[in-house]
């Protein structure tokens, strides 16, 4: 167990480098521009999954509403892009040129005040991170200082996701309603719809994701990370040791929210629109599933889990449009029943010992202490 206290374990470093190679080299090499853009879209969900590993895997806070933060980040970016494409010239057909088309359809004649700051890209980039983080702080402060946790917290996050969806759909004049904010064309004059732009965005997205993973690894291996694990396993002991449990929980929840917001913004840039379907309960639970398939204790596993599930979803639905939901269901049941620790669990309990045995046989390495899956998972 002492190896846990090292700043970064060797195996994790290797895992990080492998995932970096997969994202930055292998996937771009084996996929065409169209599929690469799809992989890029999946990787934006990985931001949420990484956040969930910290929040749920490390600190034991299960949030079933991460779509809220993903959606908020995405909406912030979408508002900026929509304003940019709603120039008076481009919207001359409207009764009020110069405002987004859906506002005109809803008889709104001037830009609402909260849209104004989104003319600025700097403000938008800050908002992508801060809006989700601030909402997470409000939720976290209200819940954790009152010691609401576990399943009650999960239910409340779901309720908030539902409320936000209804709010967005209901205020369609200000938010685009159920259609969402569509037809986003350019970022500071740079056409984001071309294949070359999508490839560039893919790499920006990939680098950001790796940076987020690296940051999360650091958080996990810091003293802070160990306190999170401690309060997951024995919250009362941590509290009686003099720590402010709520503050740690709020921090990790805000951190996960901010990460998710970045994912949402990258999603909007790569897909070209944002809609309330990402804010609701179903996508939020799907994101928990990505995390579970990857292994909720493994930051790296979260990336693979997201890629695998989404790849499966796309492939099944292309090959068997009428059966794909069943195939997806079977995949989830199989993972949960047979591999509760997800892909990372399979790796740790099956693949890694095999690799160890092989390397031991060749005598290149001295015998390593037998590691239990749980120890590695941490």
């Amino acid at each position: 167990m002492t190896s846990m206290l090292n700043p970064l374990k060797k195996t994790e470093l290797v895992g990080f480098l492998v995932v970096a190679a997969v994202i930055l080299l292998i996937l771009p090499a084996i996929t065409d521009a169209f599929r690469l853009n799809m992989v890029g879209k999946y990787l934006t969900y990985a931001f949420v999954a990484v956040g969930l590993v910290l929040c749920w895997g490390s600190a034991g806070i299960l949030s079933l509403g991460q779509g809220i933060f993903f959606g908020l980040g995405g909406y912030c970016m979408a508002m900026f892009l929509k304003l940019e494409s709603s120039t008076p010239e481009a919207t001359s057909i409207q009764s009020t040129p110069g405002i987004p088309d859906f506002m005109d359809w809803n008889q709104i004649t001037e830009l609402p005040w909260f849209w104004e700051p989104f003319h600025s890209l700097t403000f938008t980039m800050l908002a992508v991170i801060l809006v989700p983080a601030i909402l997470a702080f409000v939720i976290g402060f209200a819940m954790f200082t009152r010691r609401v946790g576990g399943v009650y917290f999960a239910i409340i996050t779901q309720a908030i996701a539902a409320i936000l969806t209804i709010l967005i759909i209901g205020q369609q004049g200000y938010t685009g309603g159920v259609n969402g904010i569509t037809d986003l064309r350019s970022l500071l004059g740079w056409d984001i719809r071309t294949d070359s732009a999508k490839t560039i965005l893919y790499f920006v997205n990939a680098v950001l994701l790796l940076a987020v993973i690296a940051l999360s690894l650091l958080v996990r291996h810091s003293k802070l990370g160990r306190i999170l694990v401690a309060l997951r396993d024995k919250e009362d002991r941590v509290r009686f040791s003099g720590y402010d449990v709520a503050a740690f929980k709020i921090f990790v929840f805000c951190f996960a929210a901010a990460i998710s917001g970045i994912g949402g913004a990258m999603f909007t840039l790569q897909v070209g629109f944002m809609s309330p379907t990402f804010v609701g309960i179903v996508p939020s639970i799907e994101m928990v599933i990505f995390c579970a398939v990857g292994g909720r204790y493994s930051l790296i596993g979260a990336v693979y889990g997201t890629l695998l599930v989404n790849w499966g979803k796309t492939t099944f639905s292309e090959s068997f449009p009428e059966l794909w939901l069943f195939a997806m269901g079977a995949l989830f049941i199989a993972v949960v029943m047979a591999f509760p620790n997800g892909l990372a669990g399979i790796w740790n309990s099956h693949v890694q010992p095999l690799v160890k045995r092989l390397s031991k046989r060749t005598g290149e390495r001295q015998a390593a202490p037998a590691e239990t899956p749980a120890a590695i998972a941490e």
Binding site: I169, T182, G272, F273, S275, P321
Partner: protein
Amino acid sequence: MKTDKNGAAPRSMLRRKLMIGAAAMALSVAVLPRVGLAQTPPTSEVNTTGLAVTDDTVTVGILHSITGTMAISETGSVQAEKLAIKQINDMGGVLGRKIEVVQEDGSSDWPTFAEKAKKLLVEDKVAAVFGCWTSASRKAVLPVFEQYNGMLYYPTFYEGLEESPNVIYTGQEATQQIIAGLDWVAKEKGAKSFYLLGSDYIWPRTSNKIARKHIEDKLGLKVVGEEYYPLGHTQFNSVINKIKLRKPDVIYAIVVGGSNVAFYKQLKAAGIDMTKEKPLLMTISVTEDEIRGIGGENIEGAYATMKYFQSLENENNAEFVKAFKDMWGQDIVIGDVTQAAYLGPWLWKAAVEKAGSFDIDKIKEASPGIELTTAPEGYVKIHENHHLWSKTRVGHAKADGQYEVVHETTELMEPDPFPEGYQ
């Protein structure tokens, strides 16, 4: 099929088949192509942009939700499109090529629609896509179709405010559907006051905006209330009470989806008997498909304005309904959108044959002016703005779930997606 001599065969075969009344011959395209049909032109001529066209096949896409909440609505469209494609193939295909279908599931999720649309255009290189149902899904795929230059045939009646060169709108836009119905109810039923209500999203809101302008400015009548409820809302008691209090002559309802069931049942339970027409109920959102869910006895007596009802009496429709039932089951019902979806492949075929090419740009150019005399709804023609000229009908709901057509505009209604004076 390669030589002129053999190439002439499909036409004479067609005549023979028509005489024996084969289902496949339910339609024949009115604009007889000047090129095509008589021969199979080489692929290099008819396909200069690398679409999925070979010497004997052409691939098209079908993109609807077959899972999720919209599946129940979109299934009819898929069935209609498959029927049309089968019939076209039985007639010899398009420019001598059999149509092959790649079907994708939008799964009631707008980003999935965008992803699948892109896949159909970029990977499968389909020559046309028949699909989408909700406005949200259309809005999601529109940039994809414009960017990759695809062709979408969109079947649903919708709010207008859109006119894309890459879309043919085979359903009615809002003014076509609304104005004729309001004129009729004012003239024939002497209606003076209206209560507008609807589900809360862009189509009902835009439609009611047009209805209000028409009622107030053009007809000089009164709107006594206007309200919206979220999609899926099931408690309509408060609005029903308000209706009882304000006593409008007409309830103008644009409630969609599952809310319909609750709305009509609660109206009936509150003692508003629509067969007495006090107040009269007029809707533009309930087709025969929705009545299956609502129950014919709950909506009996209501009026609907649309361009198509299953009970429409003409030869084209009789053959269409028969062919549809033969293919998909005898107890199936056919609503307005299903019929509009059925037009898609036929309009595309006519455009391809008029253009003598599968190239998207040539189809775009050839589309305006295309006529179908064989549409189940009667005669339709593509307008310069890519919408259809069509007649609007008023149907009177019967207890058996069908509409009886009580009025039909004498002229074709001009599609006007950006109506002056209604904005």
